[in-house]
């Protein structure tokens, strides 16, 4: 009996270091934020009431969802044909394309964000090409467009990987089978390939959408304060107004939204499938 107990205890012992790290570095700060949101400056629900009573803050929340949804859709539209090409082409082309997706993925996103600062700058290459072609370049930097562009660039690999992981398990002989049964290639694609790729679509969208909700650096650096997202608002409250309590309440809101999406996903698909 004792031997059995010690055996059963061992796996938990092995988990102890990671549990300790998560508790200290992750759970404690979250609990602290939760605590702050109810106590700072006074013990009340005032911080939460403020989110829902000031239209500006609700607009920021709505804007966050709108931008996240836009980035998700753009990522999906760009990534789907790419992932499809990856699985349909030979290993050489697939390898090159996969590397093209993965290399920026490994480059720090701060580096990638700054590179867009250069590219979209008033004296940058895009503006240069436009002037050369005889157009007066519009303002590109510090716009919603630039923020969406930057976030799409950074999150696209996640979408590609999520789609590719599911697509490469689809047996391509089914397409041939469908064609032999009278389906044109277009119909075979829509009736046989697309339905089976949907788990990848859902995975990729959840991944990109939830990551996008909390995106901070890229929209701050490339975007405009008039099109603020929630992470930006939190930063502003902390850094400029030292409104710790309100910032904490906003953070809790963001966390609840993210958890809600993941919970819905878990309810219908199972969270463990998110990682392929």
């Amino acid at each position: 009996m004792i031997a059995w107990e010690s055996k059963a205890a061992k796996p938990y012992l092995l988990m102890a270091p990671v549990v300790a790290v998560i508790a200290v570095c992750f759970l404690l700060p979250i609990l602290n934020v939760l605590f702050l949101s109810f106590t700072e400056p006074t013990v009340s629900l005032h911080n939460y009431a403020r989110i829902f009573s000031v239209p500006l803050y609700l607009r920021v929340l709505a804007n966050t969802f709108k931008n996240a949804a836009l980035v998700t859709v753009i990522c999906l539209v760009l990534a789907y044909p790419l992932a499809y090409t990856l699985v349909r082409r030979g290993p050489v082309i697939a390898g090159i394309l996969l590397a093209a997706v993965a290399i920026p993925f490994w480059t720090g996103f701060l580096v990638r964000t700054f590179s867009w600062l250069v590219i979209f700058g008033a004296e940058g290459p895009v503006a240069g090409v436009m002037r050369w072609a005889g157009f007066e370049p519009p303002r590109m930097l510090f716009t919603t467009f630039a923020a969406l562009w930057g976030m799409t660039h950074i999150l696209l690999p996640y979408m590609v990987m999520a789609l590719y992981g599911v697509m490469k398990r689809i047996n391509m002989q089914q397409i041939k089978a469908a064609e032999s049964l009278g389906a044109t290639p277009v119909i075979a694609f829509w009736r046989v390939f697309v339905p089976q790729s949907l788990p990848g679509v859902i995975n990729g969208c959840v991944l990109v959408f939830t990551m996008c909700l909390g995106f901070y650096v890229t929209p701050v650096l490339l975007g405009t304060p008039t099109d603020m997202m929630i992470a930006q608002l939190i930063g502003q409250q902390v850094q400029e107004l030292l409104a710790w309590g309100f910032a904490a309440a906003l953070s809790v809101m963001l966390m609840i939204c993210t958890f809600a999406i993941l919970a819905i996903y878990d309810r219908f698909f199972g969270l463990q499938r998110l990682w392929g």
């Binding site: 047996n171 002989q173 041939k176 469908a178 064609e179 032999s180 009278g182 290639p185 009736r191 046989v192």
Partner: protein, 357 residues
């Protein structure tokens, strides 16, 4: 054979522009025939099937089906059913939806789809499984779904690409019987690809033996077994004893082997394609000769090497002392158990049982 239903004329297909996967195939198939393409991997049998299905296009040559030139017709415009080795069922559709798919593609009305699908599922014995998904079925059941799906739209021909390759032995034999039953009931022309010669022997009306992109021989299974045109066919189909011959005298009815001398033979390949020539004697044609038994036309003493007991029969492998000639003798299970483990034994065969390839 009556007028050909399917006709391949000088069909050539190369993947790299140099080596030919299919190298000038000519073949006629009658309506309702069960034809098997038999050959080792890389012999061109699957490529030929893929060209019939429309997944591959010949570099040259032509394919006719029911009087129409289908050489360059896309696969979805041909009326041909294909059953794949890995089944290629649609995992996101129920069995019923899978079988209904080709009918939906043909814009058949819903009532007809319902009745035809039910009928096809009954034909393969899967009536009770219509609402299941393919992953909930065994390999054999999945294969039946693939069959029902390939037959339900009444195609001109059903192509089967090693359909039983992934099944275990007992199930495979069961499915062979099933396939033959379905072939009889439906009366459809079937072209079946396999590298398993016993499958080809038991199921086919005719067998096409492929080798190196060419057709080695076409014939009824028993013809291929008894009268192979080449050494390759003799070795590929069934178990065989093959002796290299140094000379052949068809007129006097004997052949000569370098180390064991003259052998009497009655049957000769009328149009031999190769030199040197070979003598084929099937292991079941050899008999052991106890003392005092009148020897047949040819008899030799062999030294017993190995005896393999299969349960229902045994095969003795021995060599003629002082030569490099090894002979396989098939005996009954009972006789196999009574054979000594080693020692010398006389074996022989009559002149009618050899065939000079």
């Amino acid at each position: 054979m009556t007028t050909p239903y399917i006709e391949l004329t000088n069909v050539v297909r190369s993947y790299d522009g140099r080596t030919r996967a299919v190298d000038g195939i000519n073949l006629s198939v009658a309506k309702g025939e069960f034809i098997t393409f038999l050959g080792p991997s890389g012999s061109g049998k699957t490529t030929t099937l893929m060209m019939l299905a429309g997944f591959e296009e010949p570099d040259s040559g032509g394919i006719m089906l029911a009087g129409n030139d289908i050489t360059h017709v896309r696969s979805w415009k041909r009326n041909i059913g294909v059953v794949f080795q890995n089944y290629a069922l649609f995992p996101h559709m129920t069995v019923r939806k899978n079988v209904a798919f080709p009918l939906e593609m043909r814009k058949v009305d819903a009532a007809t789809i319902g009745s035809k699908t039910t009928e096809a599922l009954a034909l393969v014995g899967l009536t009770d499984f219509a609402e299941r998904y393919p992953t909930q079925l065994s390999g054999g059941q999945q294969q039946r779904v693939a069959l029902a799906r390939g037959l339900v739209f009444e195609p001109d021909v059903l192509l089967l690409d090693e359909p039983l390759g992934a099944l275990d032995k007992n199930l495979r034999e069961h499915m062979q019987v099933e396939l033959k039953r379905i072939h009889r009931e439906v009366g459809i022309t079937m072209i079946y690809v396999t590298h398993d010669q016993s499958e080809a022997m038991t199921m086919s009306d005719r067998v096409v033996v492929f080798r190196g992109g060419k057709i080695e021989q076409v014939g009824k299974p028993i013809e291929l077994y008894d009268r192979p045109k080449t050494r390759f066919v003799a070795e590929f189909i069934g178990d065989s004893n093959i002796l290299d011959l140094s000379s052949v005298n068809q007129h006097e009815g004997w052949v000569e082997h370098q180390s064991i001398g003259r052998i009497k033979v009655q049957h000769f390949n009328p149009s031999p394609s190769t030199e040197p020539r070979y003598l084929l004697v099937r292991p079941e044609e050899l008999v052991t000769l106890p003392d005092g038994v009148e020897p047949p036309d040819n008899s030799f003493t062999i030294e017993i090497g190995t005896i393999i007991h299969y349960g229902n029969e045994s095969v003795m492998i021995g060599s003629i002392p002082g030569t490099d000639v090894s002979l396989r003798v098939r005996v009954s299970a009972r006789a196999g158990r009574d054979l000594p483990d080693r020692g010398l034994i006389r074996v022989g065969w009559s002149a009618t049982n050899g065939y000079v390839v």
